[in-house]
């Protein structure tokens, strides 16, 4: 038996954390409860964040959009601002788990779980998400790529929580792309995935590219070399193909029960080619 607390405010939460500093924090529980059942974790108490009002919702704040960490994935998927401005994130949400998992799971949970396969993570990397970390004593902001340091490892100190995600609104990328390769169409862990943001000129030249891969390294993999290789060139099979070896070099996948490393490496590169469909107009950019 262990205590489960359901604070309604941050004030209440800080009090609870003072008393039970070793408690495990969770929101939807879609990751933690699985680990508890399997006996992989045995915290003395649980604190659930899903009812803390200050951690929920999407706010439009001039240059930025703020997303409460305890906002459920399904809420986010239906949010008009996300739909209008951050399609790459929406595409990640659409293929995350299943409707029940999205109703329970939260974006903060997806980040803090820090699975290399987390379906919101590649999108948040290419969007340059900034994370708002709060504690009783204050708050700090950290880039997601600095926050996640390994599989399941994040730079969160005892007494701190992930409170929100900040996304810059001025993102000029017209093409928002996310593709996930799983062992089935839903309720599947990604075996490789890629998020991409592209700005393409009227003449078809890639002006800016942001790329990130999931499930092909201990954390989401970014590859500045590959971005640079396609920037300034036409969005075509030829130029994308040239970037493939750079991607294959950047990733460090493992063999596991779902797929072998060689496959993951190959697919990580090949997923780039899908971007050529945007130039052909066959891949809708919505």
């Amino acid at each position: 038996m262990r205590d489960v607390s359901l604070p309604r405010s941050l004030e209440e939460l800080w009090g609870l954390l003072d008393r039970e500093s070793a408690a495990a924090l969770y929101a939807g529980g879609t990751d933690l409860l699985v680990k508890l059942r399997a006996g992989l974790e045995d915290p003395p108490a649980l604190i659930c964040l899903e009812r803390v009002g200050e951690l929920k919702g999407v706010q439009d704040e001039l240059d930025e959009v703020w997303i409460g960490a305890a906002t459920t994935l399904s809420t986010l998927m239906e949010d008009p601002i996300i739909q209008r401005r951050f399609q790459v994130l929406r595409k990640g949400l659409e293929v995350l788990g299943s409707p029940p998992v999205r109703h329970m799971g939260t974006i903060g949970g997806n980040i803090v779980t820090a699975s290399p396969a987390g379906d919101t993570l590649p999108a948040l990397y290419v969007l340059g998400a900034q994370l708002e970390i709060r504690s009783k004593d204050g708050s700090r902001v950290v880039a997601i790529r600095d926050f996640i340091v390994g599989p399941g490892q994040v730079l969160l100190n005892r007494g701190e929580i992930l409170a929100g995600i900040r996304l810059r609104k001025v993102q000029s990328y017209a093409i928002h792309h996310y593709e996930k390769v799983g062992r089935r169409k839903s309720q599947a862990c990604a075996i490789a995935s890629m998020a991409a943001l592209l700005t393409v000129s009227d003449s078809g030249v890639v002006e800016a590219a942001r790329l990130a891969w999931g499930s092909v390294g201990p954390t989401v993999v970014i590859c500045r070399e590959a971005e640079a290789a396609i920037e300034g060139k036409p969005l075509s099979m030829e130029s994308l193909k040239l970037a493939i070896p750079l991607v294959e070099k950047a990733v460090s996948p493992i063999d596991d029960i779902r797929a072998d490393a060689a496959y993951r490496r190959t697919v990580a590169g090949l997923l780039l080619l899908r971007l050529s469909e945007y130039s052909a107009g066959t891949c809708s950019a919505q």
Binding site: V181, R183, R184, S186, Q187, A192, I257, T266, L273, T282
Partner: protein
Amino acid sequence: MKNKDKPPELQPFFDKNIAGDVVPSIGISMPRIDAYAKVTGRERYAADYYGFDMIWAGVKRAGIPHARLKSVNTQAAENLPGVIAVLTHKNISGSNRQGVIRKDQPVLVDDKVRHCGDAVALVLAEDKETLAKAIKLTSADFEPLPGVFTTETALEENAPLVHEDHPGGNVLLKASLEIGSVQSAKEHCDVLVEACFETPLVEHAYLETEAGWAQLKEDGKLEIVASTQTPFRDRMEVADALGLEPERIRMIAPYAGGAFGGKDGVTVQSLLGLAALHANGRPVKMWWSREESFIAGTKRHAARMYYRLGAKADGSLHSLDTRLYFDTGPYDHLGGVVITLALEHSGGPYRIPNVSFKGWAVYTNNPIGGAFRGFGVAQVTAAMEQMMDMLAEKLAMDPLKLRLKNAVRKGDKNCVGVTLTHSTGLVECLEAVARHPLWTERAAWKSKAGPFKRRGAGIVALMHASGYGPVVPDVANAKVELTAEGKIKVYCGVVDMGQGNAATNLQIAGSILCQNVDRIELILPDTDRTLPSGSASASRCTYTFGNALIGACETLKLRILQRAADLLMVDDCDETALIPGAVRHLPTGREIPLHRLATFMNESERTATQRFRAPTAKEIPPVGNEIRLHGFPHTLFSYGAHLVRVEVNELTGVVDVKRYLSVSDCGKIINPHVYEQQIQGAIAQGIGYALSEEVQVNEGKVLTADLATFIIPAASDVPEIESQPVEIYEPSGPYGLKGVGEIATNGPLPAIANAVADACGVRIFRSPLTPSRVLRALRERLSEGGVH
């Protein structure tokens, strides 16, 4: 936690909401009588029991694949408060061996551990939490032994033996059959194709994992309620293993929450029986976790199959040479019967004059290979139907025409030498596929594949035998009763594990006796109440039991009408008719309500029984008695032809199943709704077998012991399925029916493999066709293409 309160009695499982005041008819879709209670969660499966004063039983699993057991350390667990008993093989006074043909599986390990899932100790505790702790505290000392983990190594000379006392060494059963000569035939073939296919170990993954509960009654009777397909056989097995007289045991089989062959035999039953003997009369429950089900439950055999098929230039098949190696794991969970049925089906539904078939069921220290919907036929169909496509390609012949040319027809001898005397509708199935737009318009559809996509279509021809074969009696005994209240009770001896045969039984009885659904009660299998009726397996349930039930209902009907005629003082019972709730004298309109009539009849008069034994093949093909004992050959087959369209993603290797067509000859259909469910469910399961399902094992240890890593299809992975019946009347079947339970699950793997080959120009000989395997094959082909 102990549940001290008795749960409120639930209402009967049938509900007016669903069936209403309908007199059932044969051939119409009726909502299943079990549907309402199941979807509203009111049906109580074996796993749903939480009775007064109930305790929990659980198993300490070996966790090591092969070892000599030195000792079991029970003291620490016994000292834990809340633990009632920790039992070992020493507490068993019977044979401590279970099995159907060869009894080689211990209830609790006594001499040797033969796979990781072996049960070493049985723990009884007041609640689940204590049980889990006590199982952890129980330990055993082992002397590890080298194990055998592939059929190849198991067959090597000096391989470690799984059963030292088995005269065949690690070969549980070798089955073989020769007709004509494949040696000289090869010289007469214009074309030969050769390949080796590998199919994976597969989990049934039923919703309800192995579960049940048991209680030792005051009169000394041991009652066991279990999720099982085989209550009557279980009773004998449990009695033998525990050293009890069979009549002391009562087995009750509620609706099972899925079984697919995984409950064709003992799972929890003997353990529960043993637990109940040490529970001071309290009810004991056991319910395996999903992980435990993966580790300890049976699986579909992994197989390696060598094929060599020869044909004349015109496409007529001339010779087939096969060698089948099935990994049966450590125990004979019907492994010999599985390899025998595989052998019988290894040449598919074709006329082949020269065959040499050899099959080995091989003991290993892997998880237990056993019965699984398809029963060996899923594996060999995967091989043979891909061979047919490979042959068609080599002959530059249309694959459908090649199949039609060689398809068995009524009166032919099939390739194991049995004359097909029953309905044989394969040609009709193939012709229906040939006419279908999904086939005729495939070229246009393929040409419209988008960027990075390749499209392909694949077909297969199918056959599946029904029943047990010639030696083991394929029998059902039906009983119907006009109750003292004037209602009808149908005593069903064959388990309904979800396939819907209980609803079909009600439909048959209601139709013959002209009674509304709500006047009929089904008594589910119970060794004290229903009559012995064989297993729910082998595509036999409605064929065999339905035939018996028709006889029993007709007998009861005549008796009711005769008795009514006597009471009405009319000469001829032909002038009377059963109507809902009554008998009516048609010329005068006089009626006697059934409840009134029943008061004039004594119990034996109100009850009718009927036995039916399925027909067997009268020919004696050239095989040994041992193979006949294992069920060879059959006389009655269902047939089918499947078509699938797939799209292969060139960048990821992902295969997307776009459309599926199934045409089946399963005789006449009693309830189209239930029939459709069988076909659709079997195809969904087959798609999983084709694309994603694979129990991965390393040195006997299961690596994919949950549904996050053992990937079964979800709703969006199953395409629109069109199912057409070819309703050919089978005279020996109830209302012309043949079995439909298994056949459709054999189609998707070879159909999809053929479609992938059609799309990509490469064939993948190892299934499932995972993205990794498909992409590798595609890229190897592309790089080869570069060389040319």
